[in-house]
């Protein structure tokens, strides 16, 4: 049995060379960060080889077992079976209780291709064999392959089992017939025409009440040839085709559903989105992947609660030590349907509490945050948003506008402040409605979803380029977006050609909305808990939380407006304002540069080229327009036209040329550019549920980092904590596997993982010790926190 585990070895260390000492997200050193981002881009371009991902799925016990003992007895066949294609079927092995054979789907195999084989056990009536988790007793079948070099066997693909009661105990297994599918892949270099010998020793335990261990040796000779030969034979053998078709229909549905497992007093509650299963199932049953998670013999109650299906399970003996995953089988009128459920993220409430108290940091992880606390967190989160680098440029404009109207009366200022607050709240309300709408539709959306769309990123980059040009004085946009931002300060220039000069209050309103829009992706430490809470509660509470978030964000400016002393302390307008205005162009360009970097991570060099070309066309068009206007050209419309042409060109480049964001496997490899750039100091492996599960099965500690190129908190954490030599050393010493998931583009596996922790945004840092439940680290990391977090402090 060969296993393909693409593992790149232990974490290697390269000293961090970015020289940033303590740059948290709350410190708006934007231009400083951009220098780092540019370095990261350079690194990303240098290291663009994607890692090989492990395509094999499911941890399967088909390991080292050799068949010894007495030859099988040739008892009467237990049950009849149809005649299978002789050329693709092994000799039948008769044991006391089973008739066993190895069958290939086709007798012919092409080099570079694969064939599915099945170990078929026809079981004596009332007897049974076992699933990979046999339940209270028993043992799963094992297959030990003896294959020539060039032929590789995958893991057993286990079909959905039945619960089999044995007295007061329950086993998971199969009655009548158990079919174990395995894919065999042949190397492309295999000489055409040379037959392939497939040999296997299989052992299985078969029980009624008494249990008998049995085994058999199997041999199949497959011919090699082209695809057509295989197809013609396949058509001729209906019984074999039907067997494989039936076996594949008994497999769980592809994909993994994120569940949430929590401990309530003496019971386990498994929550799974109802949309993941067929409508109105008549029954539900959860098969745990491993012994110890649930009491197999206990009755399982279930009910529908809102958008979720809720299963009540009895905890097993090692509930905290084993992976919270399994199969959920729904019985429907059309037969059973099963999905894989992964709830590995969840920390049982009791353990979570202890951890939070120990670490003194992360109680916000608790998904059962009370409503007043959640609102408080949301409010604080909103306040912290003001300090986010990506909202700072907008606030800078705001402060500039404020400075130019020091003489306004209180009533006027109050109205402006309230208008700004209204803008922020309107944005959050809109977002909340959208979020809830999507939630209702069953879509798994993350908080940073706007910046996961490359087109959105590009449009934001264009916006910031234009804002920068305007601030720098290269172009004048009277009533464009810049005017909206500046509207409160009555604008730096006169009315623009569009004639839509907004009044001050409307400007304040739009500035609020804009500030909220750009701040949203920067998930501040408090937002994770408040938002995950919002996603799990009834819609009025969810909206209340988003409103509190918005209020927190608008509060500083509102207070500034209301507090005359603060307002009076602001300097009077003067020539310094123009200097400041021009200076503020650079944060705009910095933000644009950052957005272009995000775009590169999302779409690669082609996307960047398209984006930069678009920005060039847009800038040129605007410059031409400005030039015509100032030169009092006889063709004023030509200027406006050129700006329009520039805009259209930019949009065409954005919509038409921008490659679509990579998906699935591709996403993992394209995201690796960002990963590799960040991994200069501490090499991580791309996150996959399999990698996590297999490392945990080996007892190896794992550190999971979920990140995204557009998440500044994530990047700063990597700079100031995770890329530190001391951290890398500790990881190496403790043999910690560092798994990194990149959520720059939408990735269902990572969304599921986040949902497992009740989150819908990055960053999240989770440490899985060898024993015991996973431990969630805070969202703002320091070197000491990480080392302490993995128990080496």
């Amino acid at each position: 049995m060969r296993r393909h585990l693409a593992r790149t070895g232990a974490a290697s260390v390269r000293p961090g060379h970015f020289g940033v000492d303590d740059m948290r997200c709350s410190r708006p050193l934007l231009s400083g960060q951009v220098v780092h981002y540019l370095l990261i881009v350079a690194l990303a371009l240098l290291l663009c080889t994607p890692p090989v991902l492990d395509a094999a799925s499911g941890a399967v016990d088909a390991g080292a077992v050799t068949a010894v003992g007495a030859p099988p007895t040739n008892a009467d066949p237990p049950i009849d079976a149809p005649a299978f294609d002789q050329a693709a079927t092994s000799e039948v092995v008769y044991t006391d209780n089973v008739r066993a054979r190895l069958i290939a789907e086709q007798p012919t195999l092409a080099p570079g291709g694969s064939v599915e084989v099945a170990l078929v056990l026809d079981i004596r009536p009332h007897w049974h064999t076992y699933w990979r988790n046999p339940g209270d007793s028993g043992e799963p079948p094992r297959i030990l392959w003896s294959l020539p070099d060039g032929l590789d066997a995958g893991p057993i693909r286990w079909s959905v089992p039945d619960p089999i009661p044995v007295g007061p105990l329950v086993n998971y297994g199969y009655s009548d017939r158990a079919v174990h599918l395995v894919r065999l892949a042949l190397d492309p270099g295999w000489p055409m025409g040379e037959p392939v010998a497939v040999a296997a020793e299989a052992t299985w335990l078969v029980c009624e009440e008494a249990c008998i261990p049995e085994q058999g040796s199997f041999m199949l000779i497959l011919q090699t040839g082209g695809g057509t030969a295989a197809a013609s034979v396949a058509n001729a053998t209906g019984a074999t085709a039907a067997l494989f078709e039936t076996a594949r229909s008994a497999l769980p549905s592809p994909g993994v559903v994120a569940g949430n497992l929590s401990r309530r007093a003496d019971a386990l509650e498994l929550r799974v989105p109802a949309a993941a299963l067929p409508e109105a199932p008549s029954d539900l049953y959860f098969f745990a992947d491993e012994w110890g998670l649930v009491n197999h013999a206990a009755a399982q109650g279930w009910s529908r609660e809102g958008q979720d299906l809720l299963l009540r399970l009895e905890p097993g003996e090692a509930v905290a030590a084993v992976a919270a995953s399994g199969l959920l089988r729904a019985t429907t009128a059309d037969g059973p349907v099963a999905v894989r459920v992964d709830a590995t993220g969840t920390v049982p409430v009791s353990e979570g509490t202890v951890l939070a108290a120990d670490a003194g940091v992360d109680a916000a992880e608790d998904a059962n945050l009370g409503l007043p606390l959640a609102l408080l967190f949301a409010l604080l989160g909103g306040l912290v948003l003001n300090l986010m680098p990506c909202v700072f440029p907008v606030l800078a404009i705001k402060a500039l506008g404020l400075a130019s109207q020091g003489g306004l009366r209180l009533r006027h200022r109050l109205l402006h402040g309230l208008a700004y607050t209204g803008g922020v709240l309107a944005f959050f309300l809109g977002l909340g409605v959208l979020l809830l709408g999507l939630r209702a539709a069953g879509a798994a959306v993350g908080w940073g979803f706007q910046l996961q769309s490359p087109l959105f990123v590009l449009l934001m980059a264009y916006l910031f380029v234009v804002l920068g040009l305007s601030l720098a004085g290269a172009v004048t946009i009277g009533a464009g977006l810049m005017g909206v931002g500046q509207g409160m300060g009555h604008g730096p220039s006169g009315a623009g050609p569009s004639g839509a000069q907004p009044d001050g209050h409307l400007g304040a309103f739009f500035t609020g909305g804009l500030a909220a829009l750009v701040a949203a992706p920067c998930t501040a430490p408090f937002m994770g808990a408040a938002l995950s809470y919002a996603m799990t509660v009834a819609w009025p509470i969810a909206l209340a939380i988003l409103m509190a978030l918005g209020l927190g964000m608008a509060l500083p400016l509102l207070l500034l407006m209301l507090w005359p002393r603060l307002a009076r302390a602001l300097p009077r307008s003067g020539p310094w304002m123009e200097t400041l205005k021009q200076g503020l162009a650079f944060p705009m360009f910095a933000t644009a540069a950052w957005l272009f970097w995000v775009l590169t991570v999302q779409t690669g060099a082609t996307g960047l080229a398209a984006g930069l070309a678009g920005a060039l066309a847009l800038a040129f068009g605007l410059w031409l327009r400005e030039h015509m206007r100032l030169a009092r050209s006889p063709w004023p419309r030509l200027g406006a036209g050129s700006a329009l042409v520039g805009l259209v060109a930019a949009l065409w480049l954005g919509v038409g040329v921008l490659p679509p964001p990579a998906t699935g496997q591709q996403a993992a490899s394209s995201a690796s550019a960002a990963q590799r750039a960040d991994d200069a100091a501490l090499a991580g492996e791309p996150y996959s549920a399999d990698a996590l599960a297999s490392a945990r099965a080996e007892g190896r500690p794992v550190f999971v980092n979920m990140t995204a190129a557009w998440c500044i908190t994530c990047l700063v954490n990597e700079r100031v904590a995770l890329s530190r030599p001391a951290v890398a050393r500790t990881f190496r010493e403790q043999d910690v596997l560092y798994l990194k998931g990149d959520w720059t583009n939408r990735d269902a596996a990572i969304t599921d993982y986040l949902a497992g922790f009740g989150r819908n945004g990055v960053p999240i840092y989770v440490y899985y010790p060898t024993m015991g439940p996973p431990k969630v680290l805070p969202q703002i990391l320091t070197e000491a926190l990480v080392i302490e977090g993995i128990g080496a402090g």
């Binding site: 105990l169 249990c211 003996e317 409430v349 606390l373």
Partner: protein, 204 residues
């Protein structure tokens, strides 16, 4: 950061207040082992309460179960019984097979089995009605429980880490009962205190 620490501590504290200890009937490592009274092959009564002051090992067994056969054919179980009893343990083999089910034996048959297999338990308890087995949640044969001299359950689970019927797997396996005894002897908590019991189902 400081503020978040304060809030986190406050939340942790209030959550800790809500999370009260939960009593459970199932045996739990670190808690008092479930009490029992049983009769051995000679008609003698054994109760856990009377054994206080002595460490106890419970072994669920069924001589016809291939997993049990593996440990007796290899001499593994007998060696472990001798090792434990010499270290001062009371070793009780428990047969919970119901009358008419596989593994159910009379006192005479059980004694004969002990003799022919050269086994060395302190006593063999006949639990045909399954009351001891159900009190301990015994699921498989073998299923092992180690109770320290204070009556606290120190270990429950499989005999070792090789869940097979192959004799050859005994050598090189990690015997969890032996490890638990070593941990207890050195005054340490048992490292692997709960493992998966493997074997045939107990024939209640």
């Amino acid at each position: 950061m400081t503020l978040s620490r304060h809030i986190a501590t406050a939340v942790a504290f209030s959550a800790a207040l809500l999370t009260a200890g939960v009593a459970s009937a199932a045996p739990e490592v670190g808690k008092a082992a479930p009490g029992f009274t049983g009769t051995d092959t000679a008609g003698k009564t054994w109760s856990l309460a009377e054994l206080k002051g002595k460490p106890v090992i419970l072994e669920w067994t069924n001589h016809d179960c291939p997993y049990v056969v593996k440990h007796y054919e290899s001499g593994n179980m007998q060696a472990l019984q001798r090792e434990a009893t010499e270290a001062g343990y009371v070793w009780l083999s428990v047969i919970s097979s119901a009358p008419g089910k596989q593994g159910h034996v009379s006192g005479e048959q059980a004694e004969e089995l002990t003799e022919t297999r050269n086994a060395a338990p302190t006593a063999v308890l006949l639990d045909g009605e399954g009351s001891i087995g159900k009190a301990y949640g015994a699921r498989t044969t073998p299923h092992m429980f180690v109770i320290d001299q204070d009556g606290t359950l120190a270990y429950m689970g499989g005999i070792d880490d090789k869940a097979t019927t192959k004799l050859a797997d005994v050598e090189g396996s990690e015997n969890y009962v032996r490890l638990a005894m070593a941990d207890l002897a050195s005054g340490q908590p048992v490292a692997n205190a709960v493992t998966r019991p493997y074997g045939c189902s107990v024939k209640y």
